[in-house]
Amino acid sequence: MHRSFSSLSAFAKALLLVASTSACGPTLELGSNVMWATDHESGELDDWYEDGKGGLLLDSANSTVEIANGPAHSGSYSLKFTDLAMSDSEGPGIYRELQAPPDAYYSAWYYLPRLYQTRSQWTIQKFRSRLDSDPSAISHGHDLNLRTLPGGQVVLYVFSHDPAYLQAPLSDPPAFVPIETWFHVEIFFRPRTDETGKILIWLDDRLVYDLEDRRTTGSNDVLWNPCNIGADIQPAPPILFVDDAAISLERVRPDGKPF
């Protein structure tokens, strides 16, 4: 029996050695809840045009939306918006369009190359929808705007074109965005034509707006529209960078990997 124990002891040591020296386990990719995403590393806008469900929204002033080999949140490329229209109603934009989308998270990284003084509303993202009565017309819904405060801070706020809501109360503490630093904006959007819609907004993973029980869309059609629209943003023209955009059924978060 003693011999048996000795043999077993040696066997156990060998097993422990084998088990402890085994390599790290592999990573198993289970799948994705990402409906759409782009990191612009193709150097083209083709991801935005994917499946014919997106494209540019340009203005009459030849504002530009282009892939820039400049500041990028990941990789080398990002999307650069240059607003030449200087208008409250038009400016450079890009969109993804979804028909009767589920509740989803719309995520993008933004970059302001410098401090701009906003003497008007400055819109960096919109949720819009085509009218059932006239599909060629795109109505305005909820906007995400920036405003420069006298102290030089830039605050993020929400404005609804629905007269029942208009501007949402500012978050407390205020949702300040940084200058010359990428910041992450993620929006949970529940599209509803009645007052059961919902919008939640996170700025760098902090929930800054929680807007419930409201109409969020004019139809089953939803356009997610990053943009750069402002009538009087100085110095002109205002420039805005966007990168690593995604639409997901699950929160992306700043440390998420939508690609």
Binding site: M1, S4, S7, L8, A23, L28, S32, A37, S248, L249
Partner: protein, 351 residues
């Protein structure tokens, strides 16, 4: 009345043969005669799966002793695994001579005869003596008896112990080897396994089945096993999934026996093939991987004969480097369990 043990007879005639087994068998037979009509070699008969009883081999148009009673007594004196001996050219003939009776045992064409005086005509006693004589004649190597060719029928005093009078011309059958425990055990069990949520691993539980083979007769034996665990559901960071596992192990077992109980400890190398699939993602795919670890367990079994033993077991599976799980957009959401704990219930078949 004096009873002469066949063992003593054999020793007086052939002292060089090792007597231990022979004595035990012969003495048992004697005690069986004296103490009880119950069958067995002086021991409580072991309950076993009996093979089909051999065809009739005891004949005689007599009632004292009754051939059927004699046959039953012979069968009860021979271990079931040796009953095949009776199927090979064995024939027993009984003659009732009034105050005596004669038993003739044929084996492979040769015969051995024995006459007993019994004026009282105790038929049960005649049957027992006839059975013992038959067994001793058919198994001479164990008894050390050289049968003597019968010169002719004769009547003896009322001595119950058989005296062999005939010599069989044939070479005695080979002595049976000692009954060894089975070399291999085939163990089939149902099992339940539970993985606690440790660090980034989810909590899971699952049912399954395991087939294990233990090879070796001594305290230390080798084991090899394969199991299957049905789909276990888990949730990690909002991702729901299912996991199936096929653990295979190779190891060693240390066993101790306590009467009819045995306690065993297992330790082995564990190789696990795993298949995992997300169930609530927009796009999901099944992924397979293998992992290396250790298996440890204890098993308590109750022996019902050398070939059947139900058992209960507890085990633990360890994996030092389980596979990571990731999903978009979350990235790495955790990993498969480090530890599984479980219990099993099953049966072991000795082969």
């Amino acid at each position: 009345m004096r009873v002469r043990s066949p063992c003593l007879l054999s020793l007086s005639r052939r002292p060089p043969r090792p007597p231990r087994l022979l004595c035990r068998l012969g003495l048992g037979l004697g005690l069986a005669i004296l103490a009880t009509p119950a069958p067995g070699l002086g021991q409580v008969p072991e309950k076993r799966e009996l093979s089909a009883p051999p065809a009739a081999f005891v004949f005689g148009g007599v009632e004292c002793p009754d051939p059927k009673t004699v046959q039953q007594a012979v069968l009860s004196l021979i271990p079931p695994e040796r009953h095949s001996l009776l199927a090979r050219g064995v024939r027993v003939e009984l003659e009732d001579l009034g105050d005596s009776y004669r038993v003739t045992v044929w084996k492979d064409g040769a015969s051995v005869k024995k006459s007993y005086a019994d004026p009282a005509r105790e038929c049960d006693g005649r049957a027992r003596f006839a059975a013992v004589f038959t067994v001793l004649t058919l198994m001479p190597p164990e008894l050390g008896v050289e049968p003597v060719v019968e010169p002719g029928p004769q009547t003896e005093p009322a001595t119950p112990a058989p005296v062999i009078e005939a010599k069989v011309a044939q070479t005695p059958a080979n002595a049976p080897s000692p009954v060894l425990p089975p070399l291999a055990h085939l163990e089939l069990s149902g099992l339940y396994a539970f993985a606690p949520a440790i660090l980034e691993a989810p909590s899971l539980h699952s049912f399954g089945a395991e087939l294990r083979v233990a090879i070796g007769r001594g305290a230390l034996s080798g084991t090899i096993s394969a199991a299957y665990l049905s789909r276990a559901q888990f949730e990690l960071n909002g991702v729901q999934g299912e996991l199936s596992r096929i653990p295979v192990s190779v190891g060693a077992r240390l066993r101790s026996d306590f009467d009819s109980w045995s306690l065993a400890a297992d330790l082995g190398l564990l190789l696990v093939a795993e298949r995992v699939r997300a169930t609530n993602l927009l796009t999901a795919r099944s992924q397979s991987a293998g992992s290396l670890g250790l298996r440890a367990g204890v098993q308590l079994a109750h022996q019902f004969g050398p070939h059947f033993a139900p058992f209960l077991a507890a085990f633990a599976w360890f994996s030092a480097s389980p596979s990571e799980l990731s999903a978009l957009p979350q990235g790495v959401i955790g990993n498969l369990p480090y530890v599984w704990l479980g219990a099993a219930a099953g049966v072991s078949f000795g082969l």
